[in-house]
């Protein structure tokens, strides 16, 4: 029972932290709860499909299908997060002024929300498919009773969700004037962390060169398999022994998103209220 609780906790923690970051980053967007729920539901369905197709996926790409699939999933999530931050650089200020309510551009906010629902789906799909395979293997392994496997699974899931909820509850308390800066940094770091992870899978698939392996080693300072190490790995891409290419991709992703945020930022003077009204009626 403890075994299944620990594994399910580990997998659901990752997904749940990503869901909570998205939830924090989308405060004020239209129909947010509905989109988040849809994202989670889509991810659960997707993870069952992926779990069932594991063997087929593995055989693709000359036996490197799993690595390429993971890299692809992470790549899409990075693009969505990048888009979100660039979009926020334009609309965030406006939302702050209207007390986090997106008044003028609901349709654009809705599209934005759907992009982040995809990020949630992909996070749940990645972690969920592993969890499904693991639980299934316990069932047919027959060493543990069904009740014990399910009990452990529920316990692990509850702990994972609680951790995500805790993070969310902490972040939504941030005062309004810092809110968008903090969430931008969170999303930026998450995107770069995912991009670095994507690079690792592409090296495993033998598509990208490692460049240096490892570039440095800080495992004596902070072990990546410790809980702190895992959290930092997820949130800011901490690697105790990063590949050279991971650092290159991490920095490039940061630079590209920051450039996009700067390029498309809302420049003062802002639009006068009259044109805003015209926009919302259009």
């Amino acid at each position: 029972m403890l075994g299944s609780a620990i594994i399910v906790f580990r997998e659901s923690l990752e997904a749940s932290l990503i869901v909570s970051i998205v939830a924090v980053a989308t405060v004020g967007l239209p129909h947010r709860a509905r989109w988040i729920a849809a994202g989670i539901a889509g991810g659960v369905v997707g993870s069952l499909l992926v779990a069932m197709m594991t063997e087929h996926i593995a055989e693709l790409g000359g036996g490197m299908g799993q690595e390429l699939f993971s890299a692809g999933v992470l790549g899409i999530a990075v693009l969505m997060l990048a888009w979100h931050n660039i979009w926020m650089a334009r609309h965030g200020m406006e939302m702050t002024r209207q007390a986090r309510q997106l008044g003028s551009d609901v349709r654009s906010g809705e599209r934005e929300m759907s992009a982040l629902a995809i990020v949630i789906s992909l996070a749940v799909l990645r972690e969920g498919s592993e969890t499904a395979l693991f639980l299934y293997s316990l069932f047919i392994g027959g060493n543990e009773s069904v009740a014990s496997v399910i009990g452990g699974g529920i316990l692990g899931l509850a702990a994972g969700v609680a951790a995500g909820w805790g993070l969310y509850a902490g972040f939504v308390r941030i005062p309004v004037r810092w809110f968008f800066s903090v969430t931008s940094v969170l999303v930026l770091a998450l995107a770069a962390a995912m991009a670095s992870n994507m690079a690792r899978f592409l090296v495993a698939a033998d598509v990208l060169p490692a460049l240096a392996d490892p570039l440095w080693d800080t495992s004596a300072f902070l072990d990546q398999s410790s809980l702190t190490g895992q959290l930092l790995h997820l949130l800011i891409g901490y690697e105790a022994q990063p590949l050279g290419i991971q650092v290159v991709v991490f920095v490039t992703t940061l630079a590209l998103i920051l450039f996009g945020m700067w390029r498309f930022r809302l420049r003062p003077p802002t639009r006068p209220p009259a044109s805003k009204l015209a926009d919302s009626t259009a």
């Binding site: 075994g3 063997e55 890299a71 698939a205």
Partner: protein, 110 residues
Amino acid sequence: MFLTRKVLLTAALLALPVAALAGEAEFAITIKDHRFDPAEVRVPAGQKIKLVVKNDDKTAEEFESKPLKREKIIQGGASATIVIGPLKPGSYPFYGEFHEATAKGVIIAE
């Protein structure tokens, strides 16, 4: 605009044919009763090598190694290829994430 470029770049990367995996020295590992056999694999340092992991159990296993930076699910009855290296001389532990208590092994590069 940069989004488009990134999409294209990602697509191009994913579409790249996986480099020919032939030519590398192959090392076979079997999973049976949630244990790796052999649990200690000696491989040459300084060159790319191929691990062929065959799962003889009915249940899936996830081959995982932090120092090797690999994680791969191997379905029951299936086998999977994992390309690693070139490694510096040293030992690189790996384990089966789904049965961590018993499924442990180490790659020794020399």
